[in-house]
Amino acid sequence: MPKLDLVGVSKQYRDVIALDNVSLHIDNKEYVCIIGPSGCGKSTLIKCIAGIIQPDRGQILIDDQPVNAVPIEDRKIGYVFQDIALFPHMTVRDNLAYGLAVRGTGSNQIAGVTNEMLDLINMRERSKSFPIELSGGAQQKVAVARAIATGSYLFLLDEPLGALDALVRAELRYELKRLASDLGLTVIHVTHDQEEALSIADRVVVMKRGRIVEIGKPADIYFSPKSLFAENFVGETNLLEGEVIETKGTSCVVEIAGCRVRVLDRGKEEGERVVLSVRPEFIPLARSSGSGSNGWRGRVKQVTFLGSITRYRVEIKEGLELVAHVPAVSEEEFHVGEDVDVLLDEERHTLLFDLPAEGLENEIALE
């Protein structure tokens, strides 16, 4: 069944390197999400796999068979992209049957498969509707089912939810995942939405400037990425430049903004310039508790109620602010102008990265 390998795939457009020696193995029945900022090469990658673009170098193998020379229609790949491309003059049922009909499938078999597809997406009662009568979400479900109906087991989804309302997207992604697991599909899903990727992928691939910078399980990518870029890209975080003052045992002391904080040692040397990363949800705030606590003293600059969490901007030094997210269930509230302790967990939830040679801003740039 379909597993996929990319070996040293490169693609260049005039002076832009879209893909730079990309290698990737995807297992049979694996659901892989590819994320990265615009222009990182994720769409080029998926188009190379589909056969829409020919790579300049490197090999693409499906089940160990090189497919570089195989035309699109013979790759047996299902392809769904952002712009919903249903035939407007055909009913849902006819849209689903189309792919089979052009392959000369018998009419009995077509009826069977389309019924199966209608059940799969829970749309039996909409079989006679025309696309325009359906919501965007429902249309995209039909597009996915149409691709499945052709019998492919390898699927490329290029921003399949990109054209939909936020709330519809957030539900439909779980349906996509469910379909894929139930049917045992191998899926490569490109998205710009890191939450979408984290929530449904077996593995997440993070790309930047034509290269893969990180591959891993969602929780590993979120909690312990190897690269500063991925750390910042997959979720909001606070990045603070500092210097390692002392290492002792499992923790080390880092000086940031004129204040020494203790964090979990990540194998750094004394005197090393580092970037400390701590996500907003792991910065508890406390009414000033006096000396001895691990963190900074700061002043609340802004409070934004976001529903399940409240977002605080806290200034810890002139021009240096941190963002802290306090869960609403904690029932704790702080006010603008209030002095607070901004606390760090000495044992967990902080990461240390080497200060990038070309500067922090350049390293995490999204464009």
Partner: protein, 368 residues
Amino acid sequence: MPTISFVNVSKRFGKVLALDRISFEAEDGEYLCVLGPTGSGKTTLLRLIAGLLRPDEGTIYFGNRPVNNVDAQNRNAVYVPQQYALFPHLTVLQNVAFGPLARDNPENVALEMASRTLEMVRLSWRAEAYPSELSGGMQQRVALARGLASNAGLLLLDEPLGALDARLRLDLRHKLRELVKQSGFTAIHVTHDRDEAMSVADRIMVLRGGRILDCGTPRRIYTRPTGIFVANLVGGANFLEGIVETTTEKASAVRVSGGIMIRTRSELLTVNEPVIIAVRKERVRISNSELQLDNVLNGEVREVRFLGSSREYRVRLSNGDVVSSRQFLEGAESTFRVGERVSVGFDQVDITVFSYPPQGLRKELEIV
């Protein structure tokens, strides 16, 4: 900018009633977010304020002055459409300076204003580029900068962050509010993204099918929404169908499917009334030991959804209903596993009771 008021404004396109007797006010300096699904009338509303459309019925006022018949260029408003239209033959800086120049500012002043605004949207480094050389997201920010630099007092933003990658959108939405507030503009910002609306707005107005369902501060709309659709649109919630079993001055009991009783506040209910119980996902506690809460239900974890900063546990109760619990502050390992028996619970104060919608729950929640 004077207060903007709509009084019973309707707009039709052929047979479609895009806006149906809309009335609201946006005050000077206010950041009003219009939140609603595709086709709810959001863009129509914005185009009416801009003067690009005329109402079929009702009156739009700027202060005390009716503006139904005032041309777009005399409204002191800048409309930044979803499909930004930059001048292709002008550089980014020249595009942004266009507004100030058109308002007869001397060239050096206009360019100064333009470069300051470009800095705000973090595009100074692309000032000399032409639009075609920029990504979609950058072009959208240039359009935004052009709107800000025009100094028009009223900024009408149609999905201003819509073309951007999710991560960039996260960074920019807080920035956007700051920019608008610093400039003292009134802003009306249309979006279908609830997190964006919650982050930027002084008040959120929820539109559906051309009507206003709710209008209030993010906190009020989130904690005390006027209806089920609004509750769902502004944040994830559990909805359970039930029938009021008993009700006293202090508390009521609602029977949900499978005979499970849920204790709620009194809420002026009537015995035998069909109702919907709503509980926000983050208000649902989850545990594999005893929970001391007003309502504790037993079930089995069916699915764990990892969302980065939080996890959502979907728990199937004995009656087949699924209740979601959203947990923050967990680490890389999930606390509960699929198949595990757990208790979920919530207090009376965490519950909102709504009357049963005439068309049923599913229909009421339908987004588009």
